[in-house]
């Protein structure tokens, strides 16, 4: 190996990979408040951003952090923040603001055991339903769960792209283990990621910031660049001003949800392994999925017909695809580090198929052996 | 010496009858009508202090000095 090659392969921590992904995606603004186990994201950005002329600020609390990020996004910057459970809870109101005002923003949540202060240094996946419904009111959301260092890098880029494409907040739901583990970091130079930007009006096209367009996502311009308009968290019409007219409200709230829910095919990433002739399915995500994959691999080596489904995208949940994968199975086992938050989604769509939650909420990781034992119970 | 004279434009449809302009006018230009809304009763008394324009919360007033063109 030449010096060049050696320099390109590094041992990198998940949180750092997240920071590197944000930089690659073209993020130019970070505002945050330290919280274990996400603090390294902020520290890497504090270190790297000034070198490349970008903006880092540590705000006074998590609410100010998400507020500042949204503020920066309104004037055209790709902005993000990073936090964990307690901070994620504080941010909910403004996540809803970004949702209704259709402002792209990325929120990194490196999940730790909760509720409340919980176990600050231990992994969990207890924020999964909160990611979907944490903020009040009807809305849709995009949430991604990477489970390796390289995947964190690429999915952070993907998070920014989706935020821009769909004019929505996007949640990157890592867990403490993914955030803190170190793995080989090597970019796939043959496949440069495409970097996307929020849709701008075409030449000569009239600018209507909240137009109820067919595709669901209206074009947008930054404030301060020559088109003056109004952004508000009040329910609004196509020009962005408050309306309480039932027809307009209904159309708007519907579009807000539909733009993500009806595009689930394009947005949701689901990884399948050994599913073709599987009799039993193991469905997981995050760190638990690493153990699940190992378990399923072992079971296959032992001759058992077991399949593995991994959700990379948690929300929107692909009802149709998951239902199809579950159909006809003896059972679907869902190992997760919470009390069955994703299992209930699978139960909802897997009509007639027994869905068995496998819950671990003690701060420790699920082990492959545990999963193997559980699968063998139903085989 | 010719005294300056002023045009007092008043948009009645925006008036919410708060009474502030009548209180603030030092020259007796304004009074309340039967609905408590303001009305210009003595435009010739206007001294151009702009108190009405500055204090109307509903932007009803525009006070302009009468130029030669307006005669």
């Amino acid at each position: 190996m030449t010096n060049n090659t050696i320099n390109k392969i590094r041992l990198v921590q998940g949180n750092e990979a997240c920071a590197l992904g944000a930089i690659k995606a073209g993020a130019t603004f970070y505002s945050g408040y330290p919280i274990t186990p996400s603090t390294e994201v902020a520290e890497h950005i504090a270190n790297k951003f000034p070198r490349i002329g970008r903006h880092f600020i540590q705000m006074e609390d998590e609410i100010a952090s998400i507020g500042a990020a949204i503020g920066a996004s309104t004037v055209g910057h790709k902005a993000f923040t990073a936090t964990s459970g307690p901070g994620f809870s504080l941010m909910q109101e403004l996540i809803g603001y970004a949702a209704i005002a259709e402002i792209p923003v990325v929120i990194i949540n490196v999940m730790r055991a909760g509720p409340s202060t919980g176990l600050p240094t231990m992994p969990a996946a207890g924020d999964v339903q909160q990611a979907r419904w944490g903020t009040h009111g009807d809305h849709s959301i995009i949430a991604i769960s990477p489970n390796s260092v390289m995947e964190t890098y690429y999915e952070t880029i993907n998070a920014f792209n989706l935020a821009e494409q769909y004019r929505t907040p996007v949640l990157l739901m890592m867990d403490e283990k993914v955030g803190h583990l170190r793995e080989r970091f090597e970019e796939d130079e043959a496949n440069e990621p495409v970097i996307m930007y929020r849709p701008a009006p075409k030449e000569g096209e009239k600018f209507v910031p909240y137009a109820n367009v067919e595709c669901g996502v209206p074009h947008i311009l930054p404030l301060g660049k020559g088109e003056r308009y109004h952004i508000t968290g009040l329910t609004h019409g196509e020009t962005g001003f408050y309306t309480a007219q039932p027809k307009a409200v209904s159309k708007f709230v519907g579009r807000l949800s539909d733009k993500i829910e009806l595009n689930v095919d394009k947005i949701a990433k689901i990884e399948e392994n050994y599913t073709d002739d599987a009799e039993v399915l193991v469905l997981s995500y995050g760190s638990s999925a690493r153990s699940a994959h190992e378990a399923v691999k072992t079971l296959r080596e032992q001759g058992h017909k077991v399949g593995m489904v991994r959700l990379i995208t948690l929300w929107p949940f692909h009802d149709a695809k998951i239902a199809a994968l579950c159909e006809g199975k003896k059972a679907v086992i869902v190992p997760e580090m919470n009390l069955g938050q994703m299992a209930r989604e699978v139960q909802r769509v897997a009509k007639g198929v027994p869905v068995l939650p496998m819950c671990r909420v003690d701060g420790d990781l699920m082990t492959p052996d545990e999963i193997i034992a559980k699968v063998k119970e139903v085989l | 010496m010719s005294k300056k004279s002023f045009n007092v434009q008043f948009k009645e449809e925006w008036c919410k009858a708060c009474g502030i302009c009548i209180m603030m006018c030092p020259a007796g230009v304004l009074a309340a009508n039967i609905d408590s809304k303001a009305m210009v009763v003595a435009e010739d008394k206007c001294i151009g202090c702009l108190a009405c324009e500055l204090h109307c919360p509903d932007f009803c007033f525009y006070v302009k000095e009468k130029g030669e063109n307006d005669k």
Binding site: Y97, G224, L234 | Y62
Partner: protein
Amino acid sequence: MRPVYEKYFRDNIPHIWCAGCGNGIVMSAFARAIEKLGYDQDDVMVVSGIGCSSRMTTYIDFNTLHTAHGRALAFATGAKLSEPRLKMFVIMGAGDAAAIGGNHFIHSCRRNIDITAIIINNAIYGMTGGQYSPLTPTGKKATTAPYGNIDRAFDIVELSRGAGATYVARGDIYHAAQLTNQIVDAANHKGFSVLEVVSTCPISYGRYNKMPKPTDMMQYIKDNTVSVQKAATMTADELKDKIIIGEHFKIENVPEYTEEHNKLVAEVKKDYLEKLKGGAK
């Protein structure tokens, strides 16, 4: 023919504010101030929170951002830091600045970021029907203080000063001509400028406190305001319950946040690029 500053109004007037509400007077003063300052409308960004005063951003033709209760300064900080060329104004009510938004307020003061904060203080929570606020004087009535407010009120001037703001002034809607100039002065100061504007809510505060007519409240302000200069000659007893108006506090040449930030970034970037060049040998 209409006044020249009306070019700063959108075409959705008349506004929703009640008869005699001070917000319209402040909005008019703001438009006049922008005309005096000569800013390009495309360079002006106005951020507001939630409340009657915060509705102002609906009616004025600038880059307007109507945020969540108490959070206007956080949004404004993000926008200003990333686009420092924007002339940043934040319009807030009492709750926005001193209750739910208190933390963001004191930190904005501390940072000395170049934002002009206009706090419209009508001593009540008007939008929600008249509850008391951290700026409601002791003893006054409100829907959530039906027997009289036992709370003490903040003095925004002292709060700003203590938190590190470098320009603090107080105006009111009676002295409306002065108000335009106060907005101009606050905007011209580089750093975090606080302008508290004592205003009126005749519908709630007025009615609950024996001043039901808009003119009653206007008279109250007229009778109880005293200039900074005059106040300096008065005793503590004479000043009791008086509202002291004028420029209270100004320090120039305190490092402004966006400038310090950009200076640091420029230095670090330069060093980094030099290091890279050196390493490539």
